[in-house]
Symmetry: D2
């Protein structure tokens, strides 16, 4: 588990530690997995996944974010992350087979991204989305529920940090995140 402060950030929004931890856990990553991080942002999820898995593709459209991912890869001496500078779903066709997909940002193309991932996702493959809008939650749930071969689980997570300010411990809220996770086929193993 890496602390938020260890990542190089700039102004690109970053998935917070607790959400990273839950996202990675829900993705049930294995050492042999090929992972794609869609909307990789600062690369924080990519780097945590790369420490657990064979290969991670970091897909990101934003130039500034691409630069941050590069710097973070270097900082953490990671050699199994490959950056794809594209706007998803474009770029997903460069990956042959995916064991787990982490979706941190979908830029309004969530349905198209899920369709493209579905083509490449291995049996027992996992998709885990972090959503901050009602629209994305709704779209994602509808997409998974319309497909009988996905088993879907969804939570909302709200974290309040208890921060020492002077002599008291104040509660400070982080924005709530919806985490939607699904596993494809092979339900015997779930």
């Amino acid at each position: 588990m890496i602390d938020d402060g260890e990542f190089i950030r700039g102004k690109v929004p970053m998935t917070k530690q607790e959400i990273r931890v839950l996202t990675i856990a829900k993705a049930r990553l294995k050492p042999s997995d090929v992972v794609v991080d869609v909307g990789a942002g600062t690369g924080s999820l990519s780097i945590e996944a790369a420490m657990l898995c064979r290969k991670v593709y970091a897909l990101e459209r934003n130039v500034e974010a691409i630069e941050l991912i590069r710097k973070n890869i270097e900082k953490f001496s990671i050699d199994n992350v490959e950056i794809i500078h594209e706007e998803a779903p474009r770029g997903l066709d460069r990956i042959e087979k995916i064991d787990a997909a982490l979706i941190g940002g979908s830029g309004g193309f969530l349905t198209e991204i899920l369709d493209a991932l579905d083509q490449r996702l291995a049996p027992n493959g996992r998709i885990v989305l972090n959503c901050i809008s009602i629209e994305s939650v709704s779209k994602a749930l509808n997409w998974f529920r319309a497909r009988e071969n996905y088993l879907c689980d969804a939570i909302q997570v709200q974290i309040n940090r208890i921060e020492r300010i002077g002599r008291v411990d104040m509660m400070k809220a982080l924005n709530p995140i919806y985490i939607i996770s699904a596993i494809k086929g092979g339900f015997d193993n779930v």
Copy 2:
């Protein structure tokens, strides 16, 4: 119910609308009530209470806040709010009998404030506190639980605003607030 945007604010922290509404409701204000608003801040709670009750005392130590209370009283054409510029519990001795006390800020003197209020609180009087720190919650619960003649109720409230940003509805968290409310004696009527 007054919208947050209608109050003149400056940099003084203001109790948000939903918390004001719940605080006022928990205080079970009646037209004949004399109310004190301890740590009145911008005066938002004082003004909402003044619209429902005979008399409100706004107790506040901060000069900038006092000025805001004055401006808000003028803006809302309120004539039954009296400002007491003191640091609580000082100033409470100027009020003979209190039917309801709203505590928005205690400046580290919570126990002393509760002790002073207890002296002046009428039978069936109510005390409602908004706390943002674990320490205050803990202190307040301990104070009330040590006294058999108070019936105490406590909740934590977390509000997320759903804000339209571009074409999506994002969840934005407000800091959670603990609302502790107690009624003194006269339990037959509760």
Copy 3:
């Protein structure tokens, strides 16, 4: 403000006190208002509204709930609530003009209910919905956002009760509720 325990309940789900208080506040009820409570359940919202307004229609499809509403009306000696035993949007055509609509349950007909309310809602009329499902939130936001003459505001409310169990104060969560409130036209007055 009425305590939850004062209502006669049975097994019909009841809007909790804090949510009732916020719902009533967001509806900005005035003494001259005609209010409809759609999916009235135990009648708790109808009764609180009836204490503030000229006339309340309690619309409810469930027979058991209708009986509870009757009992609660009697218990609180209310004489300005009229029960309409129908499944909304049916029954709304019996009300000529509505100043405020509270929607506690929509039974899957939310769009139809909003369409029917829109026909009867007075200028400056308010609609306040309590939603517990993502689908309803999504439908309601879409309905309001597609109409330029409604100003819409949405929050999620999470209440944790702090309950004394033995010698400690435990946090117990209530299910989160989305409250969507909108005002029709007449934006100068908002």
Copy 4:
């Protein structure tokens, strides 16, 4: 990551999956670590820790819980969990040196448990507490803040499950949990 449903439970309360995941992550477990799980309950945390670490001691006072821990150890074929049937802090003196302590339950002896752990905790050792009461949060924060050689971090986590009921996705709240984590000395490495 193990699903809640995979553990044998009975009526003993169990730390939920998301809280287990965050607790384990905050404990920064390493393969060489000796871990103690205080108030082990069903043993769910002990078992997850045992999959990551050399040795786990499951300390528990309740006979029924001890039986469940045994069954779960067997079910998951774990051979590095040692059960200590005692009421903490008793039993901690059987462990020579502790790298990480997970405290799921303290039975009113939190201060004594922290004192005893402090004696045995290795440099850079971690303590992670799950609290459900304001009292425990307050006690724990006070304990850590009074000691300069501990670096303390605290959050409140609220999880809502989105459950498919009929044709809609309802939000169901889990009780909020406070997670307090601290690391002892050796701050250069944090």
